[in-house]
Symmetry: D2
Subunit: 446 residues, 4 copies
């Protein structure tokens, strides 16, 4: 059954015929071209220092194929941008799920983070010169980029803590400080950083102290010290850099949108990106289910006289995984729909729901598949352990679960508490009236 | 914000303007009329034996109001029945959620189980005489009904185990056996039972041994022995009866659909009923959230110098509840949509997902609210403990979770195993080809 | 295998031969005399108002048998009290587990809450007159008692919130206020209340504002308004009273220990009581396992051609229950041992661990058994649903889980943070020295 | 507070004064010498191919120190072996917990897997020549060893599936087949394999088909193909080898114990080893708590105006971790005690409980610490992510959780079902007698 036939009933009406055809094309491209290429990609990266210098040739082959098929830049939503492939966030969400099943598919179709978010920033907030210099080659897949926000010495989950200093000197901004988890900074093709720092640290409004500025990757004063690991994986060549800035100078024209508007930029940037992350994660969960099913029907893997597929415990894993994945997908698609209807700002609740819910269930689903595979599951012989490690980062990147949960709750609590307190009090009083009017005592008061 | 403004983004397009207006009307009726009447209803039931003889007058008042407002029989979906109020399963689902917030609302609007399922059976499978005698007064809310399936001496989760004997003698069927958990059988207005039994116990097809037959409640030979309790609640006057049949005779014309077609009937009956149960349960979860919010902002309930609403742990409960409820609602609405598109049979997977997922999260949500209330939460002073007990039954009624999980998994495993095994093998072979063609070794084989 | 043969290996050395013999005697008494009497006890309570007036005769029969067997007042630990049966807290803990399997066993052996805690208070803090008047008949099982602490209008989990006013007028204290969840106050034999109230509300030390005072149950000004329910159970005749005090006068000699020493009293009272609750809960969990095993081997309860005992999912429930129960028992016995070694104050951590851990796992274990029984599990036909409701209260009584978790964490955090911070810093610095001395770079600093 | 002061109350009596002093010595050695040496050890391993050839010099320095302190071979329990340091399993368990806090400590004290299990096998089942050749150098820490059991093409969780062929030819055994997850086989000092294979594949008793045979590491026909990864970690130089045997010939004198006695050997080997794994895992959980506490009190890591240590959610993580760790430790110590009292065979239940319970809680505890650290937690900058990956393997090695849970349940079910069914039936009948004798009806029968 093609992917277009598997769209949840409630979402089908929101997917155009063109998007359905594209979705099936994405599926064919991913299953037939990308997934078989994943092992070659990993080999072509190489070993040791080489890992940070290589650009696997298979990727360029796949990019050429993808462009030919029209599978390019699908992530840029049609109602907010003109440069994309013309899909809604919901439609792209379905495609992103499928891209999430392969290591190389997102980049092969030029839909890979952090470039996607950076392209959105440049398309939305960049001036014409910035667009020409950086957006165009990014849209063409010629260069890659990084977004530098997280810092090691602070609690970055509260972005007001950011410390990298941006001070103006004449026609230049001078940057000093350090960043880490600069994802993508390891790639030799990463040519540009969008850097969030403090340009006005004493501004009484803590959300107006930050600016975002464009910094070419090779600018003097920049040192990439080392690459961070994720549960033993270095994620080369992409990688996650630990980078210092020592009096790094860029022209003032590199400022994006304006001084003090850093928060505005990152907030606009995160909404759709979270949808992308979430849908790719769902794709990895679906892939884990595929491997689980293949494993439990592997006739060589019989224990105690039974194939794994006849063990009730494992069937229950499969069923719970199905339920959780399908619920998670609906959650993300609903958030995407809400963005499509209006914008990310109006979908704060729905995006936060997807941000927290999806990684939780994805980790559970993949972990079940790993357990079904036993030792193979934790090894390099299945994609499962690497997928798990990647999903685990989603509980941390763009803010840990706990921050999102607190914000979600505070918003709901604030919005509803007065109304609800009044309503429940009115209902209680009204109930007492009815009781008294019918000859009963009023309720005991707590 | 009215209920119609809270419909999930992805579902809005599936709700007609008429349904939206009705939904808001339902909300107003439930919040203003039904919830304040719940305590009076409980009092009017009375104490001791009286509980099984009373018909709380407030209910008839509410029924009159509901009919006047046009809020009547909304459960019968428009594309399968002509006798209902003209809504889709998805539209009624949204209404059922709101009905689930009140003890009396479902019955006040003639949407209460098990009558709803029984009306569906009679409308779908009954002949004209049966419809006239039983469906009409049920549609009018003049009588109530019960569906007698579960038996005490067997594992009823496997319906082929059912033993109540139905044998033909001349123009009569003679029923002998026992049933329990006959919900609704306690109500003095319960006038009719639909009874599932074995008419052909030796039929080689275990799914053709059963028949469903209409039995008037007072037929000689029937004894209602006792009422089953649910965690201390007797659920009077509705109740759950333990009933014996001793040579109970009914005319052969009381048979529904035909001998041996019992399975066919119960399967058609269960799909939409599960959607109703699930959406009412979501309503109870939303109500628990309302009470939770009111509680944590209650200024009298300050601990260790802080209001409960500033305790991070409790805010996390609120946030997780919001995420889970919203995911569960989408799951049910998607299943309803699937039924609307075609029928319950085609929505087996989606219905099973809702059947298992919703009670799990509802129990968790209500339990958190109970914990926030402390001792009041487990007592009669809030609706929470009774709501919890009711939600707990949903993991058992219409088949325990475990049966549904096994079936869900087996269906998916059977449908996908060959295709997936072949696909993964093809991808693995293709990957090896690519590796070899590029000068690398093939992958190690597991 | 007798109970004495099932003592965890690590605890055996702590149980005297006498205690082992008594343990086996308790087991025989509970299994042969008490459990079979539970249904009769429930029947003898009666219906309606009668429930609060009856004293089931079977209980006095059992009490006579128990005393004859020497099974009386085992709860009073030998190293803190002289009036008990001469066992340690650990030894009694093992007995309490077995008592917890029957509704009537604790009372039949005069080990039932809240009398046990009240006897401890009177034995420890009461003067001779108070002991003579109240402790003696309690030790004899002639009367029962209640401890009145919780109040409806405040957050009682923070006991400094308590409001019932105790003011001195001449030789009398005058009490005004209200209490609820006064457990045991429903019993016609409940003759005395220990009441916690505020005698010095303006004392700057919030832990010196409270006093505990003895109030005879029938004192003028006292009204028992109603009994609180627990998930539909009224727990008659014991019950949980909602009681008002309107200028209730008692002689000043009824004060326990001294004005302002209420906190001191309740803290001494709670430690062993929590051990008792926890071990009885474990007994109920073991009983749930017994019923589970009986159920899954019930040959009448076959589903889909298999007995429940061959379903892997249900076997996993059994295994997890076994693991959790055994871990929980060790947790409680370790806390009991710690009290035995010194006192409850020195065992704060261990008691809190048992207080939180045991109800969590007990609820899970019982719920699994309920699910295995299906509809019977939630009904009055098994003891499971009532046991569950009782266990659920344990997450609330004597302080909700959340309060204990916060306190546990704050104590550990405060006690260890400086030392750990210094140690980890020292280790990090030392590691860098070693790296540098061996020609490597120092670690990157976070 | 020294480690000897932190022994659970219930276990103190089981720890000799000598063991307490040694425990404190272990603690000092681990905290002061080993943990600071962990980063150097990792650096000395090197990069690339070098990782499998190096033997970090720091390890030999630590071994020398440990021997001087008398911290050597503590794992060999005194009541089963004469070659060890003279401790019980329980006493060594407490030491193993502390060893588990460091990467190098177990090997530095010659207590590291799989050598420990191999030494037990050789000491228990080896003949004098075998002991002299292999046990002596292992006890001296001069060589290392591996146990080769798991195979890639079968479900190894059922050890009867093992296929590696052992056939006799004259005075030699000839081995053909493959093994993987041969832990320790990567170390250049690994000089000997104990190999489990099938010497009698057609034996009607599936537990008599296997033999264990000693194979020197360099024997012709052996190829170590590759090293398996664990979530991105290669665990060099130790490693987990994928090894083929092609007509590998060893003298018949290399057979251990006798043909067909492989199962007997592996079963004797696993019991204490599981205790060691479990206690080391608890040590890693305690270390995670240490890092968690240090992190949440790090003054640089303030979010939203509060230090992490004042966030209730994180305090709850700390408290739950404390409860779970302490319960898990008691579970393992109780199993160790049971082995000490008799042998591993009599402690099947207790060992299985520890085997399943400990990894579950260890993973949860470490994961909470990771989440508190955010990005640092998943990286190489804390030991947390590597500790997590290591703990995750414990749910798989020596049999997956699911196999142990099924066996645990089946044993309990089989042992108790008849007795329990009879008891509950007797109690039910007796209850009915009592009811009838007192004028009530007998209970309804399910």
């Amino acid at each position: 059954m093609p992917a277009s036939a598997n769209i949840p009933a409630i979402a089908q009406v929101h997917v155009s015929e063109h998007a359905k055809r594209t979705l099936d094309l994405v599926e064919e491209f991913v299953e037939k071209e990308c997934i078989p290429a994943d092992p070659l990609y990993l080999k072509q990266i190489g070993e040791g220092e080489q890992r940070w210098k290589s650009h696997p040739p298979i990727l360029e082959e796949l990019k050429a194929k993808a462009r030919k098929l029209g599978l390019w830049n699908m992530f840029l939503p049609k109602n907010h941008f003109s440069q994309g492939a013309g899909f809604s966030n919901l439609e792209y969400g379905l495609m992103a799920e499928i891209l999430g099943k392969s290591r190389v598919a997102s980049e092969a179709t030029n839909n890979s983070a952090p470039d996607t978010g950076n392209m959105e920033v440049l398309a939305k907030y960049g001036n014409e010169a910035q667009k020409k210099e950086w957006l165009t080659p990014l849209l063409e897949g010629e260069i890659r980029s990084a977004f530098l926000m997280t810092e090691p010495n602070i609690a970055s989950s509260d972005a007001t803590n950011i410390q990298l200093n941006i001070r103006r000197e004449g026609n230049e901004y001078v940057l000093t400080g350090q960043k880490w988890w600069s994802s993508g900074a390891g790639d030799p093709r990463c040519k540009v950083y969008l850097v969030m720092g403090k340009s006005d640290p004493t501004n009484p409004n803590p959300y107006r102290q930050q600016s975002v500025i464009i910094v070419p990757a090779g600018t003097p004063g920049i040192t990439v010290h080392r690459m961070m690991h994720v549960y033993g994986y270095d994620d080369a060549p992409h990688g996650h850099g630990h980078i210092t800035f020592k009096n790094v100078r860029v022209p003032v024209s590199n400022l994006v949108l304006g001084e003090g508007r850093g928060f505005e930029i990152i907030q606009g940037r995160l909404g759709p990106g979270r949808i992308h992350h979430a849908m790719r994660a769902i794709g990895s969960a679906e892939k884990a289910v595929e491997w689980l099913i293949a494993r439990i029907n592997d006739e060589r893997k019989t224990t105690f006289g039974k194939q794994l597929s006849s063990h009730g415990v494992i069937l229950e894993w499969l069923a719970r995984s199905r339920i959780e994945i399908d619920a998670a997908r609906l959650t993300v698609l609903n958030a995407a729909m809400k963005i499509d209807q209006n914008d990310a700002r109006s979908a704060l609740k729905e995006i936060a729901e997807a941000k927290v819910f999806v990684p939780t269930i994805t980790l559970a689903v993949i972990d079940r598949a790993i357990q079904a595979f036993g030792a193979a599951g934790i090894s390099q012989d299945t994609p499962l352990s690497a997928m798990w490690a990647n999903a685990r980062t989603l509980r941390i990147v763009d803010g840990p679960d706990e921050v999102h949960l607190q914000q979600l709750a505070k918003r709901e609590n604030k919005a509803r508490k007065d109304e609800l307190t009044a309503k429940l009090r009115w209902q209680s009083d009204r109930a007492d009236q009815l009781l008294l009017a019918n000859g009963f005592q009023a309720k005991a008061k707590m």
